[in-house]
């Protein structure tokens, strides 16, 4: 049975609790260890304290998790409302632009000296009504099917933006470079915006530089050291790959419907010394041991 002095020391200094929170001094720890060996009831008390503290922490975690879930749900509601509003605004903007363009074109046609016979009668009517008349407006805005396509494309652009699909851009000359197997040198990587990586590719034979952009859903990530995957392909399309820049590995996630054409059918192999990027027509080697690293991805075939 613990004597009163020891009991007082334990209670006033909250020794058991401080021991569980690793806040005892070395001397206090020694003294406590001796007491624990001599008094089994003290060990039981310590176990009880351990459970209480663990329970408080677990409760805290559970409550924090519930609040997090609730906040996430609220943020999604807010986003979907914003999405709907944004969609309406986009549609309204498109309609406004079309009306504006139609009005401008119509005004120019209306200013011509030779009036159209049937249109004359219509033109005598109040101007506002004429503007709303369909045939003239349609003709002026619709070169072949351009007008309709425009609308469609704007709609699809709107959808694309709203769904936030990353847009991968590739220029015809990049495709040409791959076809002709010209020497390519990846000159630099630039992160000018959170979701956009600009890759400068130097075509050595033509002495020019192309800039291609990779848009991706997540901001650039640094992979943890224990992640072994270097790339992921699905249906022969590259889902994501990583490159090395300035001592760090950047993990880029690409939308698997569109991707940089230069890197189509790409595979990556990594050893401790080098990273080998194989495309359908080229092989790049990145020397991981050199200081310059990815400043120069050397085309080796």
């Amino acid at each position: 049975m613990l004597d009163s002095t020891t009991r007082q020391w334990l209670d006033e200094n909250e020794v058991l609790e401080r021991h569980l929170l690793n806040r005892l001094t070395a001397d206090e720890t020694d003294r406590l260890q001796k007491l624990l060996q001599s008094f089994p009831e003290l060990a039981d008390e310590l176990e009880f304290q351990k459970m209480i503290i663990a329970g408080i922490r677990q409760n805290g975690r559970l409550e924090l998790k519930e609040r997090l879930k609730s906040n996430i749900a609220q943020s999604k509601n807010h986003s979907s409302k914003t999405f709907v509003l944004y969609s309406y605004l986009k549609i309204a903007a498109v309609v406004a632009v079309l009306i504006g363009v139609s009005w401008i074109v119509y005004s120019r046609i209306a200013a011509k000296p030779e009036p159209a016979p049937s249109a004359d009668i219509k033109k005598e009517a109040p101007p506002k009504e004429l503007k709303i008349e369909q045939p003239k407006i349609e003709k002026s805005v619709d070169p072949k099917t351009g007008g309709q396509q425009q609308i469609a494309s704007k709609k699809s652009t709107g959808k694309q933006n709203v769904q936030e699909k990353p847009l991968i851009v590739s220029t015809p000359s990049e495709t040409a470079a791959v076809k002709h197997k010209q020497k390519l040198n990846i000159e630099s990587l630039k992160f000018l915006k959170p979701n956009e990586l600009t890759v400068s590719v130097n075509i050595l034979d033509e002495k020019k530089t192309l800039e291609t952009k990779l848009f991706f859903k997540n901001p650039t990530d640094l992979t943890a050291v224990n992640i072994k995957e270097t790339q992921s392909e699905k249906d022969n399309q590259l889902e994501w790959f990583y490159v090395i820049y300035e001592n760090r590995i950047l993990n880029l996630y690409l939308d698997n419907t569109q991707y940089l054409k230069v890197f189509k059918n790409t595979s990556l192999e990594e050893t401790s010394e080098k990273l080998v990027i194989k495309t359908s027509s080229a092989l790049y080697t990145v020397d991981l041991k050199s200081k310059d690293k990815f400043k120069k991805a050397v085309l080796t075939k």
Partner: protein, 194 residues
Amino acid sequence: MKTELPSYETATVESDQKIIERIRQGDEKVLVHLYHNNIMMVRKYILDNNGREEDAQDMLQDALIVLWENVAHGNFDLTSKISTYVYSVVRNKWLREINKRKIGKTSAIDDHHLEAETIDALKSIIHKEEYKVILECIQQLGPTCKKVLMLFYLEEKGMEEIARALNFSNTDVAKAKKWQCKKELEALVKKRFK
């Protein structure tokens, strides 16, 4: 060859610092921001590894709680990006979860080890029951008590911070409140275990 400085990368590292600061200040909204930033990556990993959408959400939420706790305890050093850290935590948790699910399905246990396994399982069940009781007793405490105990034991805040957060007049009041709440909880738990 010119060295191109990735301006966004610098900005991203700074952003992580700001996020850590906000966590230290107790801003829970920042976890929502981290959730949205990392859910795609986590979802892909979990779905590629025999998981479901709900598992991905759960794992990420748990990982963010771990981050929260470690930052609060001062156990988090910003040596890599937050998303890297979160990804690692998710991976570790998911691997453990997969193993747990496999063990749950497997019934082939050596007779030789059966007794030890059974005792461990019983201990585990007893612990779980004890925790359940403690969690139920915590719900019987007042909101201030719950908050004080959470700030002190989960987030390991000092008395000054607790006094400030809960508008106590001074640290002695905070200390007394914490002691009182803990005693109240202990009494409730002991009553249940009798």
